[in-house]
Amino acid sequence: MSQIRSIARKVRSKNAGPFWLTVDIFCGSDDAFERISSGLKTSAVADRFGVNGQTIKRFDIAELNVIKISLPRPVVQGSRADRDMHGASFSNLIAELEI
């Protein structure tokens, strides 16, 4: 088992508007893409974020060696419970998943 962080070149998360979050896993090579694409289960992402898996949109883009995962923001941007206005730190939850 290895953390995604140790396999991918970079994992980035951003707001996609105030109500959505999008995480881009830049795998960096065909091999890394194959490993993460097959090893990362969408249900594991849902569990880690505590959301319903059916709300997650996932795009495995082989031409870019990128896996993109979009989900409703765990809390709405800027609301009282939000701790990260720009949503950049959520990427760590994916980067630290073991596959």
Binding site: A16, P18, S70, P72, Q77, G78, S79, R83, D84, H86
Partner: protein, 454 residues
């Protein structure tokens, strides 16, 4: 062909002056720059203000107004003043007039206003003209009047109406990031899919290339596709950097919704023309049956005061989560007693920096750090009440012991007073679209002349 010069991803982010000169020398048909986004949070829309300092913004805008005069083509600013409310547009208009005076320029300015009237939206809501997007908060007919500001996002149609006035400068309120770039290519009959796709790739300036901080890029649009050319030294676009930009701040990397339809880039082909330029063809524009514009609005949820204490004692660092829970519970009880408040009328949170301040309940357990910051956040119906509650929380964050019988500890306060009055807590309250009969129905256009003193 239409050549669009984009100085940077946003007014306020600065641009490479040498690259801008190159852009002017390349004879663009229009200069387009974005002025805002929701990405910095709801407070800017909430208050109707810019996130950037006036003098700093003025310096950048002055450089672009000089570039416009040299190029002799329109200069378009989208989403004026971060949030694009009428007040933010007015802020830019004042600044533009002041700069025109300083430069001795006489300019015709088209002002596109995007703020929305709550009464009109109530009427649209009751006629089922307002529909939620995915993930939208629940609203009622009263949500609109509760909002401090509401804007509608203008698209290419409204920007083109402004361009048709023959203005030198267009100051637009809230627009989609892409509309200011796509408008002229669409009006001149360039390929619609290419117009929107090139606009999306270009909207963040050189972020679609290497040396992303350099800002300045050119996008050439024609009847079949578009070509991206970054202009700064050391900036290169490749098929990978360009296609990867569709991922940016976009939940779907192949589809982008805009007023009047959507862009589909599933069939797009990216080709390197040389080591700097990329050509893209095959993007598709799919018009929609109805013309809709997106709404953004903000409400005030309450007012906040914030306190910060730092904890260095290893035993307290080790037991910080239990300590913070205890502080919250005891302080809450004391506030209910002293201020005669119900528990639902206020919130007290002690967020532990060093433990889980960034991710909260989603954080995994980890080793303890050397020190921990205890950030007290109080929310109440008024600033005075939040401040009074903060004053009750203050001694807990300074002296609260882990056990009742131990000597009273003291933690570190970084300033006096330790309480910061943060003001209103704004919430994004709308993620909806409004259906319009005519694209200009929710927008207004005014032409203003700024005449230089002789």
């Amino acid at each position: 062909m239409v050549r669009v010069l984009i100085p940077s991803g946003a007014l306020g982010l600065n641009y490479d002056k040498v690259a801008l000169e190159r852009g002017i020398a390349a004879k663009p048909d229009i200069i387009a720059i974005d002025g805002g986004s929701t990405d910095s949070g709801p407070a800017y829309l909430g208050q109707g203000v810019s996130k950037y300092a006036r003098e700093s913004t003025k310096r950048e805008w002055k450089g672009l107004m000089e570039a416009r005069a040299k190029a002799g083509v329109p200069l378009v600013l989208g989403t004026s003043g971060t949030c694009g409310t009428d007040s933010a547009v007015e802020w830019m208009l004042d600044m533009t007039r002041a700069i025109a005076d300083e430069l001795g320029q006489s300019v015709k300015i088209a002002v596109l206003r995007c703020s929305q009237n709550a009464e009109r939206l109530r009427s649209s809501f009751s006629r089922n003209r307002i529909a939620p997007l995915s993930g939208a908060p629940d609203i009622t007919i009263d949500t609109f009047s509760a909002c401090t500001n509401i804007v509608a996002l203008a698209g290419a149609e409204q920007i083109n109406a402004a361009l048709q006035t023959g203005a030198d400068i267009i100051l637009a309120g809230r627009t989609t990031d892409t509309a200011i770039i796509a408008a002229l290519p669409l009006a001149r009959g360039c390929h619609a899919g290419a117009a929107w796709h090139g606009a999306k790739i270009g909207e963040c300036g050189a972020l679609c290339a290497s040396n992303p901080q350099s800002g300045v890029i050119l996008v050439d649009f024609d009847e079949a596709g578009f070509t991206i050319t970054p202009l700064a030294d050391g900036a290169h676009a490749t098929p990978h950097t360009v296609s990867a930009h569709m991922l940016y701040e976009n939940s779907d990397p192949f589809i982008l919704y805009e007023p009047g339809g959507h862009l589909d880039v599933t069939g797009a082909e990216y080709t390197a023309l040389d080591d700097t330029r990329v050509r893209v063809v095959g993007s598709k524009w799919v018009p929609s049956d109805r013309y809709t514009v997106k709404l953004e609005g903000t409400v005030i949820e309450g007012y906040q005061s914030v306190l910060l204490s730092t904890i260095r004692d290893p035993r307290y660092v080790q037991n910080a989560p239990a300590w913070a829970a205890d502080v919250q519970a005891e302080c809450r009880a004391k506030v209910m007693d002293r201020l005669e408040l119900q528990s639902e009328n206020f919130q007290i949170e002690v967020r532990l920096i060093g433990i889980d301040a960034t991710l909260g309940g989603l954080e995994a357990d980890g080793p303890r750090p050397r020190e921990v910051g205890a950030m007290g956040i109080v929310t109440a119906a008024t600033q005075e009440l939040a401040s009074d509650i903060a004053k009750i929380l203050d001694p807990y964050l300074l002296h609260h012991p882990l056990t009742p019988d131990e000597e009273q500890p003291s933690f570190a306060f970084p300033f006096s007073p330790v309480e910061l009055r943060r003001g209103a807590l704004y919430n994004f309250a709308l993620n909806h679209v409004l259906t319009l009969e005519d694209p200009m129905d929710a927008f207004s256009l005014e032409v203003v002349h700024s005449v230089a003193n002789p």
